[in-house]
């Protein structure tokens, strides 16, 4: 079937819209679909995380792509949020901090949690932190987070306290 818009290429997308109680179905090729701001899913399929990554950080209105702001680029390896969305892979360990909000959201969707509950790693030469001192510090931060009504942070601190306890 030819594309209803350009009449040249093969239609690959059926777009059904309801306007004033009337159903209109358009058959579009990939190029025309993109011009109308419809994603064909080709890019999504390339990534093993598919929809997760694409949905990440996007509101329901699906805004048009915009150039990376400094905050969306990892200072250590230069990877951008866009790179991550396309490849499904982070560039380095620092990317987890550079894209912290997005990563946390994704981890929660993938694993049901973003809080590591497994073994605590001690880097070469690092001393095991005193869990009592760490607990006191975390409880103090939790109190401040509740006082300032930062409930998201409070929930994370609470989870970490539970793990330590």
């Amino acid at each position: 079937m030819r594309c209803d818009n350009c009449g040249q290429r093969d239609a690959v997308i059926n777009l059904t819209q309801v306007e004033h109680d009337t159903k209109v179905t358009l058959h579009l090729c990939e190029d025309c679909a993109q011009q109308k701001g419809i994603e064909t899913g080709g890019a999504v399929l390339k990534s093993p995380l598919g929809g997760f990554i694409t949905a990440m950080g996007k509101g329901p209105a699906s805004p048009a792509p915009r150039p990376a702001t400094p905050a969306e680029r990892c200072a250590a390896c230069g990877a951008t949020l866009q790179d991550f969305r396309e490849s499904g892979r982070l560039g380095c360990g620092e990317c987890y901090l550079a894209f912290e909000v997005h990563v946390r959201d994704l981890l929660r969707r993938l694993h049901g949690s973003s809080q590591h509950a497994g073994e605590r790693y001690l880097a070469p030469g690092e001393q095991a932190p005193d869990p009592r001192a760490e607990l006191l510090d975390l409880r103090d931060r939790l109190r401040r987070a509740v006082e300032t009504e930062n409930f998201e942070l409070a929930a994370e601190l609470r989870d970490r306290i539970r793990v330590l306890e």
């Binding site: 892979r89 560039g91 946390r104 994704l106 590591h116 509950a117």
Partner: protein, 357 residues
């Protein structure tokens, strides 16, 4: 050609059929993903970065008891048939071996092998530690893994974050970086058409299934690779405990399906497994897929005590050694596609003949 005899037990001790549940579970594998802090992950790094990572890992490995005497294979310096042998032996991934269409190994791609333990270097993550064991031995495998992980982690700075745990290139591996898997033979569930329900159930309890060679590979010969889907939010012990429980449940279902078949259609089952044996024993040409399917039948027959005198070890060995690169290595020459089915059938006959002698 590489000499795998350098590796104690040729890196395939897990084939010996000695582990628990080995008629149904071929092998258990524990894998940990680790990266070195301060280095870009493999896919974003340059050749010099990867070679630097390899040098650091090799140096550290000399001081880690669980890797004492390990043999290192540089994938980036091996010819394709050798890389394929390592992959067919489950020692390296397809990606690391550069076996994808048009692919080749990255600079610094290597694997260190010592008995059941292997360390892939410069895979998607800098380090992929793996321990393979015969039969169902997930917990035991993890104990061995802990020694390896702790030994390397004391010398190399791993990328770790208090909240996100071990940092990996793909967020699906973050947290513990732990993937436990078993290679399991489920002909009873396939023949009784219960497999669909079981696989659906697995997804609901956080397990996933793949084919013989993991991600992207097809299910052949009723061999499934089951593994945990999530790696973050639970401790290693909880993940392994849950995984072990579910696998034991799948084994119980498989056993029930086999019992049911033997109660309701014993003659058909017996006929099917002996036909499979007859074909393997006398056929003059065998494709890999046909071999896998026939081996599945014979394995079922051996487990049900219908076919006496065929050891699980022999069946496991046939599974690995009837693959293309292994046949070529056994012949000591390149074997072309048209010739392969004949060479394969001759090898299968030889091993089964030896079993009766």
């Amino acid at each position: 050609m590489i000499d795998l005899a350098l590796v104690p037990d040729d890196g395939i001790g897990w084939l010996d059929g000695s582990g628990a549940e080995s008629p149904i579970v071929l092998s258990s594998r524990i894998r940990l993903a680790r990266n070195l802090a301060g280095h870009p992950f493999s896919q974003r790094s340059r050749d010099t970065d990867r070679l630097a990572v390899l040098a650091l890992v090799r140096e550290a490995a000399t001081a880690v008891p669980s890797l004492a005497g390990a043999v290192t294979f540089r994938l980036d310096q091996l010819e394709r048939p050798d890389r394929q042998v390592l992959h067919e032996r489950h020692l390296v991934s397809r990606e690391l071996a550069g076996l994808e269409a048009g692919g080749r190994p990255r600079a610094g791609a290597a694997v260190m092998v010592r008995g059941p333990a292997a360390v892939m270097v410069n895979e998607e993550d800098h380090l992929r530690l793996q321990v393979m064991r015969s039969g169902l031995a997930v917990e035991d495998g993890y104990v061995q893994m802990e020694a390896l992980d702790t030994g390397l982690g004391r010398l190399l700075p791993f990328a770790f974050h208090q909240e996100f745990g071990y940092l990996t290139a793909c967020p699906t591996n973050a947290g513990t970086g732990l993937r436990a898997s078993v290679l399991i033979h489920l002909p009873g569930l396939v023949l009784t058409k219960e497999i669909g329900k079981v696989l659906q159930g697995l997804a609901q309890v956080g397990l996933t299934f793949r084919g013989l060679y993991g991600e992207g590979s097809e299910v052949v010969g009723n061999f499934f690779q089951l593994s945990n889907q999530t790696t973050l939010g639970k401790s290693e012990e909880d993940l392994l405990d849950h995984f072990g429980k579910v696998v034991r449940q799948v084994i119980a279902y498989e056993q029930q399906a086999r019992d049911m078949m033997m109660r309701t259609a014993p003659a058909e089952v017996e006929d099917k497994v002996w036909r499979a044996y007859g074909l393997l024993r006398y056929a003059r040409t065998l494709s890999f897929e046909e071999t896998m399917n026939l081996l599945s039948g014979v394995r079922l027959g051996a487990a049900l005590n219908l076919i006496p005198g065929v050891r699980v070890y022999t069946l496991n060995k046939l599974l690995i050694f009837t693959q293309t690169a292994h046949l070529a290595a056994l012949e000591g020459r390149a074997v072309g596609d048209p010739e392969l089915p004949t060479v394969r059938a001759a090898y299968v006959r030889k091993l089964l003949d030896a079993e009766l002698a």
